[in-house]
Amino acid sequence: MSGYIPISNFQLALSVILVLLTGLISVFLRLDLLKPLLWGTVRAFIQLTLIGYVLTYIFQVNRLWIIIPIILLMSFIASREATRRVRQVPFNPVWASFLSITASTFVVGSIVVVVIISPQPWYSAQVMIPIFGMILGNSMNAIALSLDRMYSEIHAHVDEVEQLLCFGASPWEAVVRYVQKAVSAGMMPTINSLMVVGLVSLPGMMTGQILAGMSPQLAVRYQFVVMIMVAASVAMGCLLIVTLSYKRMFTADEALVESLRKN
């Protein structure tokens, strides 16, 4: 196979039939999924179409002063999404999340783009935006998992944390075992995907490149780099978010904040 196979408007419309079929099944089973499914399909179509035009423009202009604000905006949206569904948090974690996501994404993404891929110019939008986007997507999920796990662990172990404080433990010593679990929880999906990649599934990026006509050997190389950078940024992001957040669970007197306590 050489080159990519284009998808016509008719073929695009055909794919919607699959969503309608799923929707009909949900109506039959009274799952109430038809509306969110249709809304999700419409949103995905509009968002992807718009981003297609936006990316075409940005790739043409290819200026660093446009690329950096866009990546920062993507980081902020990812931070909000990462913290939106996290419950039991005694403070607003959006800024800690933004700092963790942005720092880990920029450190790892810059190394991958500038040192490993080395496009011309070094800030090529066509390379930077998809690479940073992939890192952001994975960091967002990992940070959401880590934060959620950390606070639910502390909530479930208030007595143990307070007991450790009574022994004379520092706040870090009192929560470190729960922080470790939180970091593991955030990293687990990434580690699992490293274990099964190529055996159970072909990752989306590699599949896309093969469909676009790239040789599988070359696509594999890109995919390997991407997976390693995702693992590195996820680890960095999870460590940063728990380090930035754990102290906010304690008062100036090194006691658990009231909202985390049971009584």
Partner: protein
């Protein structure tokens, strides 16, 4: 025999609002070598007062002095090792009983000051009628009474100066209860030690060969 008895811990106008509009405002003194017993109906703030004194809860107002020094001059970690709180429901961690007794000594603050003394641990365990074989038993398999005694032994090994005990005999049978109170009496004979205890059993405390002062929280309870 001790000479002049000094005030070990003093709290003045310590107040805090807690559940459903209730609040307490209490003052009291713990004299060296004595017990300050707190009584009151359920929900009168007895445990809340102990947690405030352990600096796990912040009071709305009031001050506490330890041997004449304001409590805020002590770093929280140092305070909690000097004024040590033992919860009513014993908190034991994963691992054996020995692991649980050693756990505090793995913390930085404690490591700097003292190390785990197995002989002392054995003595305390025997005093509270626990066999030494319990050391290798997984902590999660202990009964409530065993766990409560292990928890108290662990607290004594930390060598605090003030013990804040929330109904330490709640899970114990009569013999174990007497043995535990006997150990506490002996522990109090050392200089600069005192106990603040929440108890529902005045007879048990009055029978001790020690001076026991009472603080009735029911009379200090306010409803808004």
């Amino acid at each position: 025999m001790r000479g002049l008895r000094t005030i070990l811990l003093e709290f003045q106008q310590l107040s805090r609002q807690f559940e459903q509009g209730k609040s307490i405002c209490v003052s009291g003194q713990l004299i060296d070598g004595t017990i300050l017993a707190i009584r009151g109906v359920s929900g009168s703030g007895k445990s809340t007062l102990l947690k405030i004194l352990a600096r796990l809860l912040r009071p709305d107002s009031g001050e506490v002095f330890f041997m004449g020094k304001n409590w805020l001059t002590f770093p929280p970690q140092e305070w909690r090792t000097r004024v040590h709180y033992v919860a009513q429901k014993p908190v034991l961690f994963e691992g054996s009983v020995a692991d649980n007794l050693c756990l505090p000594f793995s913390l930085k603050t404690i490591q700097q000051e003292r190390s785990f003394n197995i002989e002392e641990a054995n003595q305390f365990l025997e005093r509270v009628l626990l066999p030494l074989s319990i050391l290798s038993q997984p902590a999660q398999t202990l009964s409530g009474g065993e766990a409560a005694r292990v928890s108290l032994v662990r607290a004594l090994l930390l060598e605090p100066q003030v013990l804040l005990l929330d109904e330490p005999t709640a899970y114990l049978d009569s013999d174990s209860s007497k043995a535990l109170m006997g150990l506490l009496c002996d522990w109090l004979r050392e200089d600069s030690r005192g106990i603040i205890i929440v108890s529902h059993d005045p007879d048990d405390l009055e029978a001790l060969p020690l001076q026991v002062h009472w603080l009735d929280l029911e009379s200090e309870l306010r409803h808004s």
